[in-house]
Symmetry: C2
């Protein structure tokens, strides 16, 4: 599931702010970067390039997600994805990561376990992160419950453990983001995410649009942080028959700069239906529709017609001095 | 997976020992039970009744297992099953247990995580049961590795926690058994299982045939322990095309007393194929074959023709003074 709080607003906004990373504006003070250089320029593209990361969330959550996402990566139309380290299919997606070092895989840092029939706990020993667990001993069902109960130090320790565990499994993450946006629920949590991302020289999911809803955000950013321009994510108000139209319209509306399209890819199969049984939003049918659109010729044509170029988080990560490992 | 060590031998043996529980023989000393009373008699059947528990292992391991096993229970031909509490689909099978209090569900006490693409950890906090975990932080892949590394006290604490967790989820177990037979790997482990089973007034999977391979076993048994007569389980040496013949022959060979047939039920679907990807033994096709035979008219006819009556562990549990809750 995406960053509900921010993204609901963001999909309505789709503003055309000139594509400057916050970091750039700061760095111009020290003269290292001309303040007028756009994020596409910094990435080696024309200043007004329309760049798009198509990002599949929730890898490792279910075999259905892994299988459909890998197929989508192979289409070349879904460029990036992020892995949920506490989930039971981690070994499956980690094997893919090891055999596909070119794949643009980040970590979908996970502090929630949102399905009612199929659940998981933390990476750290439960005793060490008791504040992250609901009464049943799993991670909380929702990002709001998690944020209301968690101790930020325990949350930070857990996300550090998730990164360490991913590396132990041979995953070399290219970026970080937060499952269900839990780490965007408070300033303290977001500071923890930023701290961990900076230490690991990894970019994290941040859009200039966040500034409107998370007013604490600009003050937290430093010269090395990269902020993309916008995030697009479909929401439950879009009926299934309007799926293609929503995305096609969204692609038409893409402005110069870097946009991330957050998608949720899986098959509408027995496993996924059972996992999402009482949860049609971001459920099995939803994910099959995302799979179908984002592996379609219609999507490919739409990118061409609108002169939108696909990029990866790995390219963004290079701005942070991260070597391409 | 079944109790490999014992069962491989057992399937070759299928001996016709008169059906006396070990407990009975002892209790005859105190005069509470006549020494000649057979286990079927104690259960309220004719002394020479051929009684069969058809038992599906591994509930909660995967949705595919849960869905196929529930369908098999509904056929009336699979009478019993046991749940793996550490597995991620526990909430799904627990919901079934709560809505079907008549179902004969035990606990498949779990100290291993045997698939390579899909894994789980313990119920207890990892710090408290470090000896149960492999280098990747999951339960060991095999029963021999687990038994070689585990601290028996930690194993006992973990199985107690699994029982407590099952009860917290509203499961009222009718019996206990051991996933992959880990708890039968040493005398100390088996003593832990027996201790926990007795305290909970629950029968556990023990067959008189075990006595030949586990010579420590008889000396551990007390007057309240119930030992069934034999266990039948198909093994990898049976080719797929001989599946029905193996089971049909096995049913013909059933002798008076209590027999348990250990089966592994799931669908040969994407989830199960991915979980068992490098492991055809007890894999997806194997489980689909078990599902097909044990829900078939051929199986039903075979039971009738051979005068075999299906029973449950719940009936056995009543001998231990367990109320039928």
């Amino acid at each position: 599931m995406p960053l509900k709080i921010f993204v609901i607003m963001i999909t309505a906004m789709i503003v055309a702010v000139p594509s400057l990373s916050f970091g750039q504006a700061r760095s111009s003070i020290s003269g290292l970067q001309p303040a007028t250089k756009t994020l596409p320029e910094r990435l080696g593209y024309p200043p007004d390039a329309k760049l798009l990361i198509v990002h599949g969330d929730d890898l490792g959550m279910a075999h259905s997600v892994d299988a459909a996402s890998i197929k989508a990566f192979e289409s070349g139309l879904v460029t990036s994805g992020s892995i949920m380290v506490p989930c039971p299919w981690l070994p499956e997606i980690a094997a893919y990561a090891r055999s596909h070092p070119e794949a643009d895989l980040g970590l979908h840092l996970t502090l929630t376990s949102e399905w009612t029939s199929y659940r998981w706990g933390p990476v750290l020993s439960k005793d060490r992160v008791a504040s992250l667990l609901d009464k049943s001993g799993y991670l909380y069902l929702t990002e709001t419950e998690a944020a209301a109960h968690l101790d930020v130090k325990e949350a930070e320790a857990e996300i550090r453990a998730q990164i360490e565990r991913a590396r132990a499994f041979g995953i070399q993450p290219t970026h970080l983001d937060s499952h269900m946006g839990t780490l965007y629920q408070s300033k303290a949590l977001f500071e923890a995410l930023l701290r961990v991302a900076r230490e690991n020289k990894l970019p994290t999911r941040m859009s200039r649009e966040f500034f409107a809803s998370a007013q604490f955000l600009p003050s937290l950013l430093g010269p090395t942080d990269v902020v993309i321009d916008r995030i697009i994510s479909i929401e439950p108000n879009v009926p299934p028959e309007s799926w293609s139209k929503f995305y096609t319209d969204a692609i038409k509306s893409i402005q110069p700069g870097v946009t991330e399209m957050i998608v949720h890819i899986a098959y509408d199969d027995e496993e996924m239906r059972a996992a999402t049984i009482d949860h049609p939003n971001w459920g099995a049918g939803w994910r099959q529709r995302d799979f179908q659109f984002f592996t379609s010729d219609a999507f490919r044509r739409s990118l061409q017609e609108n002169n939108v170029k696909l990029i990866t988080w790995r390219e963004v990560a290079r701005l942070l001095g991260k070597s391409d490992d």
